[in-house]
Each structure stands twice: as structure tokens, then as C-alpha cells.
Symmetry: C2
Subunit: 84 residues, 2 copies
């Protein structure tokens, strides 16, 4: 749980997640969307990946990132136990 909350505790990372909700994107496409250096985006992607919130797949020269929604189950479950 720690890594999930850590990963979500950043506006840029949450926006990356929202982008990936609509379609898979490679690192460069993601970076284009932000006013931030590519290494910084790469770092954010790494944190999201460690939290299992996204997955990556090498496609030739590019690395494509996808959202992993299954891990969000854990989060929802944690919240639901609080609500009663």
C-alpha cells in the first residue's frame, strides 16, 4: 500500500495516470504533455511502475506504457473497509 499512496501523492503522476487511462503512450509522448524535462518524467514513470500502477513494454526504439487498473482494486478495498 505504501508504494501506491506514494505514487499517487504527486499531481504530475496522477496526470500521467489519467493520460494512460485513454490510451497507451510511449515515454516521449508522455513527456511532451508536461512542461518538465524527460528525465523527470522518466523518474515519475519509474515510481508509478514500482507501485505497479503502470506497466511498460519495449516496442523497438520506444517504450510503451499502459495503465494497470487491477492494482487499484487494493486501493478501493482499503478505502471500503474504512467506510463501515
Amino acid at each position: 500500500m505504501n508504494s501506491i499512496f506514494k505514487a499517487l501523492n504527486d499531481e504530475t503522476r496522477r496526470e500521467i495516470i489519467e493520460l494512460l487511462k485513454d490510451r497507451d503512450m510511449n515515454a516521449g509522448q508522455i513527456a511532451e504533455r508536461f512542461n518538465m524535462s524527460k528525465p523527470s518524467i522518466s523518474h515519475h514513470l519509474d515510481i508509478l511502475k514500482r507501485a505497479d500502477l503502470i506497466t511498460s513494454e519495449k516496442k523497438g526504439q520506444f517504450i510503451e506504457y499502459s495503465l494497470n487498473t487491477t492494482i487499484l482494486e487494493d486501493l478501493v478495498n482499503w478505502i471500503m473497509t474504512l467506510k463501515k
Copy 2:
């Protein structure tokens, strides 16, 4: 959303929330449960309160804290929009 994620991004604060799930507690009772100074716990309570995750009510000499589950709706909603 920012303040919610920030508040949840700490093991101690998540444990406080879990304690308050079962029953309201005053600051001293909460502090007893942790191997940490009272001012530190007070600080965590402040962050939880700013995020609206808990509420406080003065009861004479004590301050009683309660969980505010309604704010968790926002969080669940945010997650749910990702899952489709």
C-alpha cells in the same frame, strides 16, 4: 485531491485513520498507540484534519477526533473514473 493523497501518504496517518474507524478517540489516546512523541501525532492529526479526513471536537479538557468518511467518496470516485 492533493491534500487527501498527501494525508494518506504516511503509514502513521493511515493507522490513525484505521483506529478512528472503530471508535472516536482523543489526542492522548491516539498518541498512546504509537511509539512517537505527542507533538508528532498532533502534527499528523493536523494534516488529516486539513484533508478533511477527520474532524475534531473539544470535550472539556480533551479533543476528540472522528473519522470523516464522506470525503472518501471523492477518492473512490477519482479511482473509479480510471477503471473504465
